[in-house]
């Protein structure tokens, strides 16, 4: 019994290490074969439509509601200290630094990441990737790399739209509904939000999240066992792993980016 448990543990460890090695090789191969994704940018644009444009509804609606809730909650807290004019700053900084990149990335992982894994996994299961190889076309260059770059380009754009929509939601609730002064809402926001420290760092975060999510999604699809069960398991793993990766990376990036900022 004990021997079998140790064997199982050893087996899982070996498989885990092997998988990390395979994922690293996959990532490097993807970067190495990215030429096609740029030379024939139409392929990447097409994938941007599927991963980016089709994610717009969920991103915009979620951004609006998150901003509206921030407006309500922020106003409740700020009015205790008599500084409700700072609502604009609170809403904008929360969104641009944290909620925009992180929540948009979590939504992107569940909306687009799962779709990418399922698509690649099914292409593998139905031998479409093998067929491509037999036609002397490298699936990493033709199928995987354009999806990767589409995800990496779409992610910061979606995060920016999420933040913009959130700020609009905060404005609707704070200014139009509750009656915070419109001038101070916008002017305080404008003077407090720093382009480099806040916006640029938020963009960097979302690019990193984009790389992580699309890499995980593509790898899980490419590595999925070619069965219905295999593809469904891979899709679930994509959402779970990439969500956890986003949260962990967010902590690490925040720790480095916002050290010493007041």
């Amino acid at each position: 019994m004990l021997k079998r448990s140790i064997e199982n543990l050893g087996n899982r460890t070996i498989q885990g290490v092997w998988r990390i090695g395979f994922a690293t090789r996959f990532f490097l191969a993807m970067l190495l074969h990215s030429g096609t994704a740029f030379r024939r940018f139409g392929l990447t644009i097409r994938e941007m439509y599927f991963t980016g444009v089709l994610s717009l509804i969920i991103i915009l609606v979620s951004g609006l509601f998150v901003g509206m809730v921030l407006g309500l909650q922020g106003y409740e807290t700020l009015q205790t200290y008599g500084s409700e004019e700072a609502l604009g700053v609170l809403v904008a900084l929360s969104l641009v630094r944290e909620l925009g990149p992180v929540v948009a990335a979590l939504l992107f992982a569940s909306r687009a990441g799962s779709a990418i894994t399922a698509e690649i996994g099914l292409m593998k299961a139905t031998e479409q990737l093998s067929a491509m190889e037999m036609m002397a076309v490298d699936p990493i260059a033709r199928v995987v790399a354009p999806r990767f770059w589409a995800g990496v380009i779409s992610m910061p754009l979606l995060a920016a739209l999420f933040s913009a929509m959130g700020i609009f939601g905060g404005y609707l609730v704070g200014v139009q509904l509750i009656g915070v002064d419109e001038g101070s809402f916008w002017s305080q926001m404008q003077s407090a939000v720093d382009f480099e420290q806040d916006i640029l760092n938020g963009v960097i975060k979302s690019v990193v999240f984009g790389v992580a999510i699309t890499t995980i999604a593509l790898f899980e699809g490419y590595d999925a066992p070619p069965t219905a069960e295999g593809v469904s398991g891979a899709t679930t793993r994509t959402v779970v792993t990439s969500s956890l990766a986003v949260l962990a990376l967010d902590f690490v990036l925040t720790a480095f980016m916002f050290r010493g900022i007041n």
């Binding site: 099914l122 139905t126 031998e127 479409q128 190889e133 037999m134 036609m135 002397a136 076309v137 490298d138």
Partner: protein, 267 residues
Amino acid sequence: MQHDNLVEIEDVVFGYGARPVLKGVNLTAKRGQIIAIMGSSGCGKTTLLRLIGGQVKPGQGTVRVAGESVGELDSAGLYRLRRKMGMLFQFGALFTDMSVFDNVAFQLREHTDLPEDAIRDLVLMKLHAVGLRGAAQLMPAELSGGMARRVALARAIALEPALVMYDEPFAGLDPISLGVTGNLIRRLTDTLGLTSLVVTHDVQESLKIVDYVYFVSEGVIVAKGSADDIRASDLPYVHQFVHGEADGPVPFHYPAPSYADDLRLGG
């Protein structure tokens, strides 16, 4: 110099992990012929195609296509060689996000600089050859199994390869589609001067069209010959296979402990 044999497999040994699949196979395919590779499911037929296509490398022995040793080629060499090959997968493996037209045009767009007008003409000619010119704008999901197989055939011959490999082209087809597919393979092989390798377990349909047959069982070639030789063969395995007998050298029962023991009748 052109070799008479397009494909030459010599003493090939191959296994997946510790499980041996092929244990010393010799096979040749002459140019312009249809060669059938027959045998029961899981006997290593498809693995032979994967070896020829370079998707896996032999453990021992050599696989030569057009004089080049497939196992020794680097990826650039392999991709160059694959342009001379076409492959028809078991269920077509059409790209589901592309129309029939785009599927057939895929290789022409990837590997040539032909203008779109010329590609259009070539694609329509290939689709006409398989009788599906009228289905050019359909999506793969709108096709029947037999039609999908024919589109995949048109796609496989788009670049006019020297060798076309067919993985179970007759599996799951109705009798009409079965005859259509068999005739197409024969006609295209003759008119385009191809060499065709057909992996199948459909004896009756394939014996009508093939020039030479190899029988694979348990990783070795157990019989070979023309279609008539195979029909007349008195080898027990071939006889069982050709006549579809339930029991024989290939047993009906999967190996198991004694029936009485399993039912605990021993007392």
